[in-house]
Amino acid sequence: MKRSYLGEFEEIVLLTVAVLGSGAYGVAITDELEQQTGRSVSISAVHAALHRLEEKGMLSSRMGDATAERGGRRKRLFTVTVLGSRALHDIRAVREQLWNSILPNTLPAISI
């Protein structure tokens, strides 16, 4: 089966959805992303990525609660699907395999 390609930003968004569990919606995902990665993320880019991931079948969504500060509008809550989970696992497996194959002291040392 042909694996669908996952971009770097998409991968991070997908992971963040997993981090947030049941509370994953646009604003929360953006905030979490900014906190975790330290980079500034535009909300429209997040929405675009979520939309694309849902189209690819890696996310599913349902409409959640409305709050006053949203002007009575409901949130769209996302959860990772099996396909999304497999994609994340696959990526991780490839990375770990690659890390494990690196001989010690090959990478230049960095101070943290």
Binding site: A48, M63, R70, R76
Partner: protein, 895 residues
């Protein structure tokens, strides 16, 4: 909304909010807006309202530039928009039009005919009305004209020209004109010197065929009429004698493709010996104008050239020449009336006692239309004819629209069910009207496009009838506006009533299968329309017959002399004394029956009038026409001698032969009484030796004038009667005459004209009228028949059952045809009653222009009526025969 009352919650910028709502896909809008609001309120708390608002705008922009947010998902249950409904209308319209091919074709051809007629007439009238409308300040430009009062008869005649001396004196003596500019038209062969070789030669203008192009003009002319100067100095170009300005195109004709600068200084020769050098080149006007001049010779040339001075006397106060023109430009706000007193004083000061001439000003816009003020250059358009044409266009379009109304209401039986269903399904009356109008629109638009394609071929095929230069430019804004207006007007005229009628059907009735609403009062309207159409057609038919009769009458009326097979040869001016040599030689030819020398043929465009005094019991002075020839003149033209004898050979005028009208004008009862009476003509007494029967001198518009014929020592033309006017013998004789001509006049081209052709030119205008009326008749009849056909179809359908029942009860086929036709015959009969007086009035008015006319007789109306009846019957019979032959078993079975 949040119910919390106090403090007013900050809100995101409204504009950005709207923009988002408008751009964003509806299914995404809720979550996106929600997220943005959440972030906005958090930012208000953290950074303040201003910053939050700015960021909000940025985020909105971020969304609406992303494709995923804009792209809409297809809605499984879309709300229909206006476009969808319109598409449906068009689809149904298309289906309907293709289903009823016959009536679509009838409608389309009717509309196309009407629209084409309209379009062609629009093109012609806008061309004519557009003459000389492009001059800057054109409303302030006037031509000096006048009215000449005949001192003996007191008759006033308007003149489009003024005495030669007037313009200069007006400029000097009457204040208040911005500019005064005089010019003289001249006619001349043009020679262009070509080094050592023979000069290039351009023929003299043919009157009535070529434009007038050569004028001798004051420099002020260019202040009144603006030209773009390509070379030369406008201030000085025409100051000196023997200078001239050429138009760009003319310069190219004379000198080939030289740039304007190099044309300066080149020489042009007029009147064989007047050498003029070019001092300026101007760009030709590209809009239609009567001022078609291209060779502008400087005014001082007149006094500087002995030859010109002889022919144009600039100090002449007591005579007028049509070549002597003057234009003035009034200052802003001035009126022509304010010059009247000055003109009166001016006339008193300058004109001699017996020369009664009132000066006046004619607006430039009148130049193209007022034939009273004649001149040598402007082609006059007949304004009433133009209005007549517009009337015809409106009528034809109206008939076509009526047709459409008739046919579409006739079809309404079938459409009634559709209307019922649509109404039951919730269609409003307005949208039904929209539907029927869009059907009409399709047809109208098709008709307009078709007629656009037809206009050019029509313009070419009617060339003789349409003034040169008329063309259509479909992309010109004015034409586009007209086309748009025409389409909408036709659509409304043709479509409004049917759509109102159709949309008014009540579904309950129509769906039950009855067509009660199509009853009597609607039928009355259709019948009224048919009556109207046939009235118009009948007026045209009667017009055709009467115009045709008058033309026939004019062609065949005994003119009082014979003009058949008469060839007229006009030798060059000034070489007339050699004419008798030619005369003697031509007479010897075997193909020539007889010949005569003459000054004026009995009937022609030009004629002479002179005063003749008779001293009988009272002294009588008459304005009489004169004809001069040699002793053969009267027998040559086979005029009928009523008393006395013809003229005898003489070298001078010694005796007169007069016509019958002359005798009557003198007060004699019998022609013989006038014999041997003496008439005083040009200070001498001449005896009357003979009286001839009246003969026509001018067209049938004019009465036969008292006329005398005498011999003269000089002659202008040679008239030759040939034995044959066709075939080999004719060409042989013509060749012989040509040879003799070249022996006598080796330098001049051989030219001849048939007298019959010259006479036919008298009736060119009437021929044109005849063609116009014939065309209009054909169109009107055609369209009316189409309408009648539609109505017949309708009635035949309506009465299917009735016919079935009648047949079952024993009616014969012929009785049913008669039954169906009778209704229409009645309509046509009413149309005859209305049309006859209208047509009588119109044709009588037209005939009043003729002194000699074919009277309107009763049988013309009967003939026209029978013709219309015949046409109507023929049209109806298609349907009535079909209906009558129908099997009653079939027609009664359908319910």
């Amino acid at each position: 909304m949040n119910p919390m009352p106090q403090p007013p919650r900050p809100t995101p910028p409204l504009l950005a909010e709207r923009l988002l709502a408008w751009c964003c896909a509806p299914e995404l809008l809720e979550e996106v807006q929600g997220d943005l609001h959440e972030r906005f309120h958090r930012r208000v708390a953290l950074f303040g309202e201003r910053s939050a608002r700015r960021q909000y705008v940025w985020e909105v922009l971020g969304f609406i530039t992303k494709p995923f947010a804009i792209k809409r998902q297809p809605n499984p249950y879309p709300t229909p928009t206006n476009m969808d409904m319109l598409r449906n209308y068009l689809k149904i319209a298309y289906r309907n039009l293709t289903k009823h091919k016959a009536s679509t074709l009838i409608n389309l051809s009717g509309l196309t005919l009407g629209v084409t007629a309209c379009l062609v007439i629009y093109v012609i009238t806008s061309f004519e009305l557009g003459f000389d409308t492009f001059h800057p300040d054109g409303e302030r430009i006037y031509r000096m004209v006048g009215t000449f009062t005949n001192p003996t008869t007191g008759e006033k005649s308007p003149m489009g020209f003024v005495p030669n001396a007037v313009p200069k004196a007006v400029r000097e003596e009457i204040s208040g004109f911005e500019t005064v500019a005089a010019f003289h038209n001249i006619e001349s062969e043009v020679l262009i010197p070509n080094g050592r070789e023979k000069p290039k030669q351009f023929d003299q203008r043919k009157h009535g065929v070529d434009n007038a192009e050569i004028i001798i003009v004051e420099p002020q002319y260019f202040d009144i009429f603006k030209y773009q100067w390509l070379a030369g100095n406008p201030q000085t170009a025409l100051r000196e004698p023997f200078k001239m300005v050429l138009s760009e195109k003319k310069a190219r004709t004379y000198f080939g493709d030289l740039p304007p600068d190099q044309v300066l200084g080149k020489e042009v020769i007029y009147w064989d010996s007047i050498r003029v050098s070019v001092a300026g080149v101007v760009k030709d006007w590209d809009q239609s104008t009567d001022l078609t001049f291209t060779d502008f010779i400087s005014f001082p040339t007149i006094r500087a050239s002995a030859q010109m001075k002889r022919s144009i006397n600039l100090d002449e106060w007591n005579d007028i020449w049509s070549a002597s023109q003057a234009f003035v430009k009034l200052p802003e706000g001035a009126t022509t009336a304010q010059f009247a007193p000055a003109f009166r004083q001016f006339a008193q000061r300058h004109f001699p006692k017996n020369f009664n001439f009132e000066l006046d000003l004619q607006p430039l816009s009148d130049l193209h239309f007022n034939a009273d003020y004649g001149d040598n250059y402007a082609r006059k358009a007949h304004l009433p004819t133009l209005y007549g044409l517009m009337g015809v266009a409106v009528f034809i379009l109206l008939i076509a629209a009526i047709n459409f109304i008739n046919l579409s209401t006739a079809q309404s039986v079938e459409r009634a069910k559709e209307v019922g269903i649509r109404k039951v399904l919730g269609s409003s009356r307005r949208s039904l009207i929209g539907q029927f109008m869009s059907e009409t629109f399709i047809l109208t638009a098709l008709a307009v496009v078709t007629s656009l394609l037809l206009v050019k071929p029509i313009l070419t095929s009617f060339q003789s009838f349409i003034p040169a230069g008329v063309d259509i430019n479909p992309t010109a804004p004015r034409v586009l506006v007209f086309l748009g207006a025409l389409t909408i007007l036709t659509m409304i005229m043709a479509g409004l009533y049917p759509s109102l009628a159709l949309s008014s059907y009540r579904p309950v009735i129509t769906l039950k299968g009855q067509n009660a609403l199509l009853g009597n009062q609607k039928g009355r309207l259709r019948q009224g329309l048919i009556v109207f159409q046939f009235t118009v057609s009948l007026v045209f038919i009667i017009g055709t017959i009467i115009v045709g009769r008058q033309l026939n009458f004019m062609r065949n009326k005994d003119l009082g002399f014979r003009s058949d097979a008469v060839l007229v040869l006009s030798p060059p001016k000034g070489a007339g004394n050699k004419l008798s040599v030619l005369y003697d030689k031509v007479r010897q030819l075997s193909g020539v029956q007889k010949a005569t020398l003459q000054v004026l043929e009995p009937m022609g465009i030009s004629y002479g009038l002179d005063k003749v005094t008779y001293k009988g019991k009272t002294v009588q002075t008459l304005e009489a026409a004169y004809k001069m020839g040699d002793e053969n003149y009267i027998p040559f033209y086979e005029m009928k001698l009523l008393a006395g004898r013809t003229l005898v050979k003489s070298d001078s005028s010694r005796e007169l032969v007069v016509n019958e009208s002359f005798v009557k004008a003198l007060g004699f009862k019998q022609p013989a009484e006038a014999l041997n009476k003496s008439l005083q003509w040009r200070d001498k007494l001449y005896p009357i030796v003979g009286v001839v029967a009246d003969f026509h001198q001018q067209s049938m518009h004019e009465k036969i004038a008292p006329t005398f014929i005498t011999t003269v020592p000089y002659a202008r033309d040679l008239a030759v009667k040939l034995s044959h006017v066709q075939g080999e013998q004719f060409y042989m004789t013509l060749g012989e005459i040509r040879q003799l001509w070249q022996e006598v006049y080796p330098d001049t081209k051989f030219e001849y004209s048939f007298m019959d052709d010259t006479l036919a030119q008298f009736y060119e205008k009437e021929q044109k009228t005849a063609r116009l009326v014939n065309t209009a008749t054909a169109i009107a009849i055609l369209i009316s028949c189409l309408g009648l056909f539609g109505l017949a179809t309708f009635t035949a359908q309506q009465r299917t059952k009735e016919i079935g029942v009648r047949k079952v009860l024993g009616a014969s086929v012929s009785s049913i045809i008669a039954l169906l036709s009778a209704d229409f015959i009645r309509l046509v009969f009413i149309a005859i009653l209305i049309a006859s007086p209208v047509a009588w009035w119109a044709t009588d008015k037209w005939l009043q222009d003729f002194a000699y006319k074919a009277d309107i007789t009763w049988w013309v109306f009967v003939l026209a009526g029978l013709l219309a009846m015949g046409i109507a019957l023929l049209t109806v019979s298609f349907q009535s025969v079909k209906a009558a032959l129908m099997d009653p078993a079939k027609s009664l079975r359908t319910e």
